[in-house]
């Protein structure tokens, strides 16, 4: 029972999902209720996370599940992000007609899957979490089943994800075969670099994980899925699963595969470079805002992976900071996308922003801050995120990575600035409807303000992250 105490958040979430499902089935048209309850459940889970002390570090269930500072931080991040996505997308879901009770419940179960992924310390547990998350996401992507694009995106994601899951599973079985264990600790003891079979296994597993964070060349699904799925799901996709995927990355690289640093470093550097370059270059040609954000996400994941490639604690911390700030910026951007509507039709092309500053000065300023931050212009938070990563990279003398990273930052600045130019200097279009949704406004202003004033007190985030010591 002592051990169960530590997984109360997960248990609470599981029970809530079941209860909400029952409620939804027996009450007709109870979307509003379920949606609000789900948000409350997420909030409650967030609070329950702090049921145990922050410094707790323990492994449960025969060392297959771990509770430590990293998992706590990442779970908290996941839940907060999830809450804000829920809050900001409420109106959108209702307007677009996907207000079914399954929607919030699927989000909850995806969140549960992610929490399990984050805490997993065993290949089997990890895979269970992954699949729970993935299955929920498949459905969510194609949730707008009357839309041709939504179902197409769902199918693509499902097929490609199945492929990557297959690779991942194959890798898991190889690792198990060569190390005689599925437990992370035991694996790290049993494999070394002279074992070609385990190198195979590592490649398979990393490819599967790279798919989840949409790193090049396993990114092909991202633009189509981002564009095709309902915007609320895209926002969820862009913000929440990245946390879990990156945590799993950290765990795999630094616990079971720690003896093979030289090998996986090459892989991570390669996919990091490829992601940064493609994210910067391909985004230039985009016209759809959601698709652009997909490429932007690819690029940003490249930077976060650059932090992981260092093999140092500092690199991990920089990657975590990068991720946190990136989530914040994305939340703001998607809040803006949610606001682009006239007469109940949502617009998502970059050209629709034309001359926004004339009609919506406040939203324009928010977008300006967010885009500048995404481009990494000081003194906004996005600059510091990149700064920490590059500092960590330079400290371990990976100059090529740093230089190419900086060059791609410059290239990617182009398309962010182009949007700003369109907002501020092009001819204004019709006015957008003013949104009355409080959650949306709160998400937008909160993210903008935090990004704007981050530089005043950066040590808040740095102190929190500096407790993460995986090595």
């Amino acid at each position: 029972m002592d051990q169960l105490n530590l997984i109360i958040p997960e248990l609470f979430l599981t029970t809530s999902i079941m209860i909400l499902l029952m409620l939804g089935v027996f009450y007709k048209n109870s979307f509003n209720l379920i949606f609000k309850l789900s948000t409350i459940v997420l909030l409650a889970t967030f609070i329950l996370l702090f049921n145990h002390s922050v410094d707790t570090s323990a492994t449960l269930f025969n060392n297959s599940y771990t509770i430590d500072y990293l998992s706590l931080f990442m779970k908290a991040l996941t839940l907060v992000a999830c809450i804000f996505v829920m809050l900001s997308s409420f109106d959108y879901i209702k307007l677009i007609g996907i207000n079914k009770i399954e929607y919030p419940i699927l989000i909850l179960s995806a969140t549960l899957g992610m929490m399990i992924m984050i805490s997993s310390y065993d290949l089997i547990v990890f895979y269970m979490g992954l699949e729970l998350q993935s299955l929920s996401l498949y459905v969510l992507v194609s949730f707008n089943r009357d839309s041709y694009r939504s179902t197409e995106a769902g199918l693509k994601y499902f097929v490609l994800s199945a492929l990557s899951s297959g690779l991942l599973l194959y890798g898991c079985s190889l690792i198990y075969g060569f190390s005689n264990s599925t437990n992370f600790d035991l694996i790290s003891q049993n494999i070394d670099q002279f074992n070609t079979g385990s190198i195979f296994g590592i490649v398979f597993i990393l490819v599967g994980l790279a798919f989840k964070v949409s790193a090049v060349p396993f990114h092909m699904w991202a633009p189509d899925v981002y564009e095709g799925s309902p915007t609320s799901v895209t926002a969820f996709f862009a913000i929440v699963p990245k946390v879990a995927a990156l945590t799993v990355f950290i765990r795999f690289l630094y616990v079971p595969f720690i003896n093979l640093v030289d090998q996986w470093q090459m892989i991570i550097i390669f996919i990091s470079l490829a992601s940064m370059i493609l994210g910067a270059v391909a985004a230039i040609g985009q016209t759809n805002l959601k698709r652009l954000m997909a490429y932007s996400a690819i690029g940003h994941m490249g930077y976060a992976l650059a932090g992981l490639a260092t093999g140092s604690n500092e690199g991990i911390q920089s990657a975590v900071i990068y991720l946190s700030i990136y989530l914040l910026m994305n939340l703001g951007i998607f809040s803006c996308i949610f606001m682009m509507k006239r007469k109940d039709i949502f617009y998502e092309d970059i050209q629709d922003l034309s001359g926004l500053s004339k009609n919506h000065p406040i939203i324009s300023v928010c977008l300006l801050v967010l885009l500048f931050s995404l481009a990494g212009i000081p003194p906004l938070a996005g600059f510091f995120a990149k700064f920490y990563v590059f500092m960590a990279v330079i400290k371990v003398e990976m100059y090529t990575l740093a230089i190419i990273g900086l060059i791609t930052t410059v290239i990617s600045a182009f398309y962010y600035l182009r949007i700003i130019k369109i907002i501020y200097f092009d001819d204004p279009k019709e006015i957008f409807e003013i949104d009355k949704n409080l959650g949306l406004k709160v998400s937008l202003f909160l993210s903008t303000i935090i990004i704007l004033i981050y530089f005043i007190y950066p040590s808040l985030l740095i102190d929190m992250v500096s407790n993460i010591n995986v090595i």
């Binding site: 199918l155 990557s164 490819v207 060349p217 092909m220 892989i267 270059v281 985009q286 290239i411």
Partner: protein, 637 residues
């Protein structure tokens, strides 16, 4: 009090410059004039104390730079030299401020103009009150900046912009030498404060330094470098070409900056640095020769010019040459005296010509004037006083200062001294001829302007004439009143005291009577000659010009200095710049750098977009290819 002298003009400049739109034209005109006038009155008070009580002070405003050994203060140094300059700057500046109210009446940017004028006054005052080379340099550049802004004040005129840029760039050449001089001073003395530098000078006499591969004396090198700065600012030969062009600016600016104050900063610097210059005979001779050459060449150019302001501008160059060769023969106090009197009569001439130009509705060519002396009697009489004073007519101010230079040169009893006497007298004759030419052609003879009928020529308003009258009083009386104070027996001990160093005691002998009489006689004879040549019988002159066409052309084209510089410096540099721009920048750096990179990115961006073709098997294929590459790579290493 000293604070008020220096900072009141700055306040005026700020208020007029930044809040001029709010407060209105009239307010900023009166406000700036008022503040500068107060500053001037206070300057007089300070000057009085200096004269009567021997007052001297060095007020530190605050420490400006403290970096290692380098300690520089903002300060106000009051002694005989700086208080004289305060008075000169103050009088001319305040009168020009008042004059401008009338002169700029048709201009749209009055507040900007007044602001620049006040800013200039502030910069000039910080220059003269500095107690170290750094603050001096600040003021030096400050007046340079204001000069640039005011020459290009009518920035819609391309010629004004070109003249402003020319002035700035030519001064840059001088300032480069000046800055090097300051660096050298700091390098050798570890300080830039006058008093500390001057105290150490006697101990490094004879020290050598390797400069550009040549062994030279340190003191000589410092002097020469500083003097290059002076040459730029005071428009001495080789760096003089900007001054005539600077006449593109409004006339009050010419009077204030390009006649009375800023251009004399070079003379001021040489006098201020007399403790350095005194130890290098070579440098003094160099100053002397440059001064003589300038005085002579520019006087010859002035003989044939037709633009009323340009003639006076060349005359200014020439008179500055006088001051320099006076300093060069060691008569610093006489140089200051000539600076003092020159400020009055040259400002008078400029403002007077401004009044003429105002009457003629911005006509500046003296060939298109004439015969209007009855229409504008006040201007006529004031210009007459200015001309007499400039030429050195007996008992007017120019007479005392200019003759004193020649007398001192004679008493020097050296080869260079005699050269100075010769050139001084020759230039005085030329000065007389071109001044009377200007005067007669402008006011007498036949009216020859076809654009404006003579009935429309009218006198300038009182607000312009009143400053002129005050200046005329100065031009008449300043020589007689101040000669004992500035250059009389014992003036070096009683008035100048420590501010000027005379290594050799001043000779107080009387020069022979012929040297005292020759100059006034010659210039008086030249008045009727000029009258005859320029008014009565123009044929002689026309014939002379035709028979000596080449000489005339040579002078008219200003000894071809501009063309020469254009050929040697401007054109090759432009061509070089063009090569760097077209081939170096556009075709190499841009093409392979930013532009090429941008094209590359665009190309790849298009490819990447096409790559994403939407087919699921294609996506899967890419994934597998990527996976295979990674795997192969890891197995191979």
């Amino acid at each position: 009090m000293e604070y008020a002298i220096v900072f009141l003009p700055l306040i005026g400049a700020i208020v007029s410059g930044f809040f001029g739109k709010i407060t209105g034209d009239r307010f900023s005109e009166i406000f700036t004039s008022f503040l500068v006038s107060i500053s001037t009155i206070l300057s007089f008070v300070v000057f009085y104390f200096v004269v009567v009580q021997g007052y001297a002070n060095n007020i530190t405003i605050y420490s400006w730079i403290t970096s290692g050994d380098l300690k520089v203060n903002w300060s106000i140094k009051i002694d005989a030299l700086s208080s004289t300059m305060l008075v000169v700057v103050g009088i001319v500046s305040s009168l020009v401020h008042i004059y401008s109210i009338g002169y700029m009446v048709h201009d749209d940017c009055k507040t900007r103009f007044m602001s620049y004028l006040s800013l200039f006054t502030f910069a000039m005052l910080t220059l003269v009150t500095s107690d170290n080379f750094f603050q001096l340099f600040f003021g030096w550049e400050g007046v340079g900046l204001c000069s640039y802004l005011l020459i290009g004040f009518w920035y819609k005129k391309p010629s004004a912009n070109a003249a402003a840029i020319k002035a700035f760039i030519v001064n840059r050449v001088g300032d480069f030498g000046f800055a090097l001089g300051i660096f050298l001073i700091f390098y050798y003395f570890g300080t830039v404060n006058y008093s500390e530098v001057f105290a150490q000078i006697p101990f490094i006499v004879g020290k050598q330094i390797n400069f550009l591969g040549i062994e030279t004396n340190v003191i000589t090198l410092i002097c020469l470098l500083l003097f290059i700065g002076c040459m730029g600012k005071s428009a001495q030969i080789f760096l003089h070409t900007w001054l005539p062009d600077a006449m593109e600016g409004p006339t009050p600016v010419s009077a204030l900056i390009h006649a009375a104050t800023m251009v004399t900063a070079g003379v001021f610097l040489v006098v201020r640095c007399s403790p350095i210059f005194e130890y290098s005979q070579f440098a003094l001779n160099f100053v002397c020769i440059v001064g003589m050459t300038t005085a002579f060449i520019t006087a010859t150019i002035a003989l044939v010019q037709n633009d009323i302001k340009r003639i006076i501008a060349y005359s200014t160059c020439s008179q500055l040459g006088y001051m320099f060769f006076a300093a060069g023969i060691g008569a610093y106090h006489v140089a200051m005296f000539h600076l003092f009197t020159h400020a009055f009569f040259k400002a008078l001439l400029f403002l007077g010509s401004g009044s003429v130009i105002h009457s003629f509705k911005n006509e500046q060519d003296i060939r298109l004037m004439g015969g209007v002396w009855k229409k504008i009697p006040y201007t006529w009489i004031l210009m007459l006083i200015g001309t007499l004073a400039l030429t050195g007519f007996p008992f007017l101010s120019g007479y005392y200062s200019k003759d004193a230079i020649i007398e001192f040169a004679y008493l020097k009893n050296s080869t260079i001294g005699f050269y100075v006497v010769f050139i001084g007298i020759l230039t005085a004759i030329f000065t007389s001829i071109y001044s009377w030419r200007l005067f007669f052609k402008t006011f007498h003879g036949k009216y020859s302007n076809e654009k404006i009928i003579i009935e429309n020529i009218h006198e300038s308003p009182m607000i312009m004439l009143a400053p002129l009258i005050l200046l005329a009083v100065g031009a008449i009386g300043s020589g007689y009143l101040f000669k004992d104070l500035f250059i009389g027996y014992g003036s070096s001990g009683e008035f100048w005291r420590n501010s000027i160093l005379f290594l050799n005691p001043i000779i107080n002998d009387h020069p022979p009577i012929w040297i005292i009489l020759i100059t006034p006689l010659l210039i008086m004879i030249s008045i009727p000659i000029s009258y005859y040549l320029f008014l009565k019988d123009k044929k002689i002159l026309t014939k002379f010009v035709q028979s000596h066409k080449q000489v005339y052309e040579f002078l008219l084209n200003k000894w071809y200095f501009d063309e020469l510089y254009d050929f040697i410096f401007v054109k090759p540099i432009k061509r070089l710049g063009l090569i760097f721009w077209k081939h170096g920048d556009i075709k190499t750096i841009d093409q392979f750098g930013p532009d090429g990179f941008a094209k590359l990115v665009k190309f790849f961006s298009n490819k990447a977009v096409q790559f994403q073709n939407g087919y699921i098997y294609h996506y899967a294929f890419v994934m597998l290819v990527g996976f295979s590459i990674l795997l192969t790579y890891l197995i191979l290493i």
